[in-house]
């Protein structure tokens, strides 16, 4: 995707609203984006948690 510098703040809510008002297909795209955000956030959380587990493992082992 070509990235341009937009001088105008289009408004986050307005962007989503303009997708939804495009009709069923637009609403589906907005929903898909919403799902990606939710699942993306979940993956990020999982990824953030994972190293903490590995970091504790050696200590656990040494304790053992």
């Amino acid at each position: 995707m070509r990235t341009t510098i937009a001088y105008l703040d289009a408004g986050t809510g307005s962007m989503i609203a303009s997708a939804v008002v495009a009709g069923t297909a637009g609403a589906a795209v907005a929903a898909k984006m919403g799902w990606r955000r939710v699942s993306g956030a979940f993956k990020k959380t999982a990824a953030t948690d994972a190293p903490q587990v590995t970091e504790t493992q050696p200590a656990d082992r040494s304790d053992a």
């Binding site: 995707m1 703040d9 303009s18 997708a19 008002v21 495009a22």
Partner: protein, 467 residues
């Protein structure tokens, strides 16, 4: 060579409008250069320039005095007189909105979209709306229209306010350069209005989304949301659906007051009585000695004398404080394809001030071009009696314009004079008399011709300002 940068040209850093010896020029840098090259090749741009609905634009080779760093310089045709949405009627703002959407749809057909959706992207040349902001067009990159919110705030919501609530949008637009916010219009519409076209989607839903997401640091801002929506599959076809939906709503908006007046306007616009014939002949003779550049017809009413002025001038402003009358005049001129008379709504005792950044972004009315001649017919009594302006103050203002003046004095014993005086305490205007007016006029102007109309209560003067 005198060069000055347009004070309003700061929002889009890739494009700067400047003036040089009367020419309107635009300097482009960065992405704007690539977008211009794309735009110049499109069919719709050529077609719209030819019919005047997009300002005629051409590249300038070896431009001298361009702002530092300019990569491309364009020259635009000059708009004869700049006007603003808070001086337009309902029909004018609606036609401007429709043109914005139409060029957006045509751009999308050829792989371009628009960066914004601003009412100030449009001007009027006579009764023809013209799109002036050529750097608005950019190559499509997927995702929704970035100008949707701005279009709603500066074009759709003002029209909805007037069509559905019968509240004129002009004071609001004059007071807020960015228009009406989603939550503001949402608070104004009633439950009954929700079933009206456009309200549920563009007002209620938009306002709710705006409230939920914007300005709270959620979701990474509007630019990343646009990109995310593009990645999720928001195509140009969906943008077209949004724009077509908006177009349908805007095209269906009607302002009842103007519609009913328009119906009678078409039946009653005949001018046959003797006094009107004499007045028309006087005005025609007063302006016949030369071709005038710009004429202001102040208190123009149905535009009869604006049309006479247009016979011997390049451009006429037809200004009146009555929006319904001006709306009908605009519709008549639009139907004729008139590009020489610009109808505007403005109360002369409350003229458009400078607004925006440092009050220079959108200059005051009288700073946008001086007239060569001014018509002031059947107006002075409204200024002097209704608005209580002293006669010397009125004539001082006309004198400051340094233009030929064609002015009518309506005596206090004229039927209209009596109607206006009936609303004021007796004896409040002892100096409102023809003899006083004439002395005051003579002090400031050289009276070249004068004629008393058959009623005996109205006198016309043609005068030029004294140095």
């Amino acid at each position: 060579m005198s060069t000055s940068v347009e004070p309003a040209s700061f929002r889009d850093p890739s494009s700067t409008v400047y003036y040089q010896d009367g020419a309107v020029l635009r300097s482009l840098v960065g992405d704007a250069v690539r977008d211009w090259e794309l735009l110049a090749k499109t069919r719709f741009f050529a077609r719209r320039q030819a019919d005047g609905s997009i300002v005629r634009t051409e590249p300038v080779e070896d431009a001298e005095g361009a702002p530092e760093g300019s990569q491309v310089v364009l020259r635009h045709d000059r708009v004869p007189f700049i006007s603003y949405p808070y001086e337009w009627t309902f029909a004018q703002l609606r036609d401007a909105a429709l043109l914005h959407l139409d060029v957006m749809l045509e751009a999308l057909e050829e792989g371009m979209t628009m960066k914004d959706g601003y009412s100030y992207n449009l001007q009027f040349v006579g009764a023809r709306p013209t799109f002036i902001d050529t750097p608005s067009f950019e190559k499509t990159s997927g995702g929704p229209w970035a100008g949707y919110k701005q279009f709603c705030q500066t074009l759709l919501y003002p029209l909805i306010l007037q069509a559905y609530k019968d509240v004129t949008f002009r004071p609001w637009l004059r007071g807020a350069i960015n228009g009406i916010e989603p939550r503001q219009i949402a608070n104004l519409v009633s439950a009954r209005d929700i079933v009206r076209p456009g309200v549920l989607k563009h007002v209620t839903l938009h306002s709710a989304m705006d409230k939920s997401f914007s300005g709270k640091g959620k979701c990474g801002g509007s630019q990343s949301t646009k990109e995310e929506l593009a990645r999720a599959g928001f195509s140009d076809e969906l943008t077209k659906a949004t724009v077509k939906g908006l177009r349908k709503v805007v095209a269906g908006l009607k302002w009842k007051a103007a519609d009913s007046h328009w119906a009678t306007y078409q039946q009653t616009s005949t001018y046959s009585d003797d006094e009107r014939v004499r007045k028309a002949a006087f005005v025609r003779a007063a302006l016949a000695d030369q071709q005038h550049g710009l004429v202001w017809d102040l208190g123009c009413n149905d535009g009869t004398y604006s049309r006479i002025a247009a016979e011997t001038s390049d451009y006429v402003l037809a200004v009146d404080g009555d929006e319904v009358t001006i709306d009908s005049l605009y519709r008549a001129l639009r139907a004729e394809g008139n590009t020489a008379i610009l109808p505007l709504v403005m109360d002369l005792v409350d003229q458009s001030p400078g607004i925006g950044w440092r009050n220079t972004e959108r200059p005051a009315f009288a700073e946008r071009g001086k007239p060569d001649a001014v018509l002031c017919l059947a107006l002075v009594h409204h200024l002097a009696i209704t608005a209580s302006l002293p006669l010397p103050a009125i004539l001082d203002w006309f004198h400051s314009l340094r233009a030929r003046l064609v002015i009518e004095f309506v005596a206090p014993d004229d039927p209209m004079g009596k109607v206006l005086l009936a609303n004021k305490p007796a004896g409040l205007f002892p100096d409102y008399r023809a003899s006083v007016f004439e002395v005051l006029l003579e002090e400031r102007f050289e009276i070249q011709r004068q004629e008393a109309l058959p009623s005996g209560t109205r006198t016309l003067y043609s005068a030029v300002p004294r140095a």
